[in-house]
Symmetry: C2
Subunit: 162 residues, 2 copies
């Protein structure tokens, strides 16, 4: 890790940068069609009265190099909160400087300081470089679990009176 | 759904019941060895100043039949909060009355009311009855994603100064 690496919580002024990172990450994940986020919506949900998530921005040699967005989750088995990392992204031209590892280590320290039992995230199955990186950190794939998602019309249908 | 079905937020008096449900669910999932939760820890994390999750208890004909525990998550792609269901459990002798569906529908209504874009949960790959049930509700398996978990010594190691 370079001494020129700085990691700090995002501020409302970072909203355009955050949206740029989200779009770059979605492009890398071939999921750009799923992105409907706007600057206004990010500002309202991340920097309003009750922020829904926390954001870290990494600068390397003064250049915005990547970000991490995370929130608290909960384990009933442990009866402890945890941290769930929704997004981790380092710009391609900034990789190889330990920035991703530094962001993860920053959040791991927060998790320990907050008494969390776990630090979790999800990765796309084809993202072999990321999977290798996570395994080397000692993270364990929860292969036996599948996430189910209800959204759009199916969510509205289940929510409607019956 | 029976008219005798009642779904309501849990209170601190429900802590022993909740711990019982958590243990029964863990047993069903063959994960009992992972349960270290205690009544005190549940009380502190769920009913303290800043609850880490919300809990619903379902009563059927006056009998405690099941529970759901959920918390808010966040989608960067949508720039919207979502709801993540950590645990859903209906006692074996109470199944077949639509209690699980009623708990999910209750949370789906909350999700819509709170402006959430998604309602998500995870299921064990061998739990075919649950998977069939979730698919029939229109929930989509996120098969291409794998959850990674850092805990215990690996979490401490990443959190330690380097």
């Amino acid at each position: 890790m370079s001494a020129a690496l700085d990691i700090a919580p995002a501020t409302p002024a970072d909203v355009p940068l955050i949206l740029g990172f989200i779009r770059e990450l979605a492009e890398y994940e071939h999921l750009s069609d799923q992105v409907t986020a706007t600057e206004d919506a990010l500002r309202a949900t991340l920097f309003g009265e009750r922020p829904a998530a926390e954001v870290l921005i990494a600068h390397h040699d003064g250049v915005a190099a990547g970000f991490a967005l995370y929130f608290q989750n909960y384990s009933t088995f442990l009866a402890k909160p945890g941290i769930y990392l929704e997004d981790l992204y380092v710009r391609p031209d900034q990789r190889g400087h330990g920035i991703g590892r530094a962001l993860l280590a920053h959040i791991a320290r927060l998790a320990v300081a907050r008494g969390c039992g776990r630090f979790e995230w999800s990765v796309l199955d084809w993202n072999a470089p990321a999977i290798g990186f996570y395994r080397r950190l000692g993270a364990a794939p929860q292969d036996e679990w599948t996430i189910f998602r209800l959204s759009g019309d199916a969510l509205k249908a289940l929510a409607s009176p019956n």
